[in-house]
């Protein structure tokens, strides 16, 4: 079979273009949506923790987290109609299920639930641990975002404990949301 250099070059360019497109839109396409969703939830939840009475803030968090889980499920469902990875998808689901169980056990047995600030910090750090693991598994930048936000959380707790909720809203939620938005826009 004969082929000129130009034709070979064109074929290779086509291959790269198709592969880039599919990786962007499918294989890791859900990441920016999850980041924007949970970034917005963090922002609203921590803003509530800073400005609202503890009881109202707690109720707000409960509603936001419930909405977050439902919307995360919807995003996952939408993606599963386009591409599926038997076994792989199950492992991700099992990881997050175990994550919820272990986080609940540590919060309960460790007595974090008696201190709302510590509890939300702990859960946020655990959430970022989830990002780190997902990054190692799926897409490396998630690991760096997870580590970066963890550093912000710890520094804010040490340096400005009185404004921890505000810092978490703006920097923690903001970094997640805008990282997701940036990835989404740059992939389009």
């Amino acid at each position: 079979m004969n082929m000129t250099r130009n034709e070979a070059q064109q074929s290779l360019e086509t291959i790269h273009q198709v592969q880039r497109e599919i990786r962007r839109t499918l294989a890791i396409g859900g990441a920016p949506f999850y980041m924007m969703l949970w970034g917005a939830i963090w922002f609203l939840g921590y803003l509530g923790s800073h400005f609202l009475p503890p009881k109202t803030a707690g109720d707000l968090w409960g509603a936001l987290v419930a909405m977050g889980f439902i919307l995360s499920f919807v995003i996952g469902w939408k993606l599963s109609t386009k591409v599926r990875t038997p076994g792989y998808d199950a492992r991700i689901g099992i990881f997050w299920l175990l994550w919820i169980i272990y986080t609940f056990l540590i919060v309960w047995l460790g007595g974090f639930d008696s201190n709302p600030t510590l509890m939300s910090l702990f859960i946020s750090i655990m959430a970022m641990f989830g990002y780190v693991v997902m990054g190692l598994w799926l897409w490396t930048p998630l690991t760096w975002i997870g580590l970066g936000v963890t550093v912000i959380i710890v520094l804010a707790y040490i340096l400005v404990p009185a404004y921890i909720n505000l810092v978490m809203a703006v920097l923690g939620g903001g970094v997640l949301f805008f990282s997701g938005l940036y990835i989404y826009r740059s992939w389009r």
């Binding site: 074929s11 086509t14 198709v18 109609t81 599926r84 038997p86 076994g87």
Partner: protein, 97 residues
């Protein structure tokens, strides 16, 4: 030097194999998503998929997602190897003086 694969050489099949091999080894791509991405008709995509399936390069599976029947396509290990050899052959042509 590896030879160009006559099955994969065809432009539409080249794009199909490029798309499928971009996914993790055990991932399957849904038919409609692939069709839209490559801007093909149902019939055109089906014809090329059949040729690839006959060559043992892709595996086609029907499954239900919720209540809707869906067709999922994946590159087989033989298909991945053939595609990789084809890419190497293309690169060799470029390096040729």
């Amino acid at each position: 030097m590896p030879d160009l694969d006559p099955i994969i050489h065809q432009p539409v099949r080249l794009q199909i194999m490029a798309a499928l091999t971009a996914l993790p080894p055990d991932a399957q791509l849904e038919f409609t998503t692939l069709r839209k991405m490559l801007e093909l008709t149902d019939g055109n995509l089906s014809v090329h998929l059949r040729k690839l399936e006959d060559a043992g390069y892709v595996k086609i599976e029907k499954a239900f997602v919720g209540r809707k029947p869906r067709t999922f396509i994946a590159a087989t290990p033989a298909g991945r190897a053939a595609f990789e050899a084809h890419v190497q052959a293309l690169k060799a042509i470029l390096e040729r003086k």
